[in-house]
Symmetry: C2
Subunit: 125 residues, 2 copies
């Protein structure tokens, strides 16, 4: 069971950041009206507002490189909490931005999940 | 409602790290048999094993300094996800260790919560 959780968490993370780096508007498919994003302390809710925030970030191209993925089953039946750390590389920037992000994934039909909780923070220090 | 979530998240975080830094064995009161901790990638479950891990960390004294706390309601009725970043200061160490940690809190009676999900990572880079 632990291995399945880890596989599902990793598959989600790969999918999420692949979309982010290659087809950012398509991230809207991973959220639902109840979804919440806290981005660097800014609270955002709903598919439309979350999608707008992600698409309006002040860079067009980016590359996420994942360092760690930790997944656990959540209390919500079939749900998963996923904790990610990694770096964000922007064009023309010599230094990477390090970040941590957590997702609470809730199951939909047929093995799909949506993001209920999403919290993103750049790491300083 | 957002403000209440933030107050509850902050109160929990203050309580958790106060216990960690001053009475680490008492952290056992915040976990339940179903609780899960992933500590630097190591998966641990149950009050006893989580408590043992925390008490056997290779330092006695420490001081957590919190940088950010982000809280959201979870799908579990009354539950809260809390995302923390900060630094860990150890005696005799000039440099701080930066960390990120997430908690999924589930309500008990009378305004108390227990930690269902706990994921801790040191930040590198």
């Amino acid at each position: 069971m632990e291995e399945l959780i880890d596989l599902v968490g990793k598959a989600f993370v790969d999918h999420y950041y692949h979309l982010f780096d290659n087809d950012r508007p398509a991230l809207s498919s991973l959220y639902q009206p109840s979804s919440m994003l806290t981005f660097e302390g800014q609270k955002i809710q709903s598919i439309e507002d979350i999608t707008a925030k992600l698409n309006q970030l002040p860079f067009d191209q980016c590359l996420h490189v994942i360092s760690t993925i930790d997944s656990q089953p959540s209390s919500f039946t079939g749900g998963i909490v996923v904790f990610v750390s990694g770096s964000l590389q922007l064009p023309g920037e010599e230094h990477h931005l390090w970040f941590s992000q957590m997702f609470h994934l809730i199951p939909l039909l047929e093995g799909h999940f949506f993001v209920q909780n999403d919290i993103f923070r750049l790491n300083y220090g």
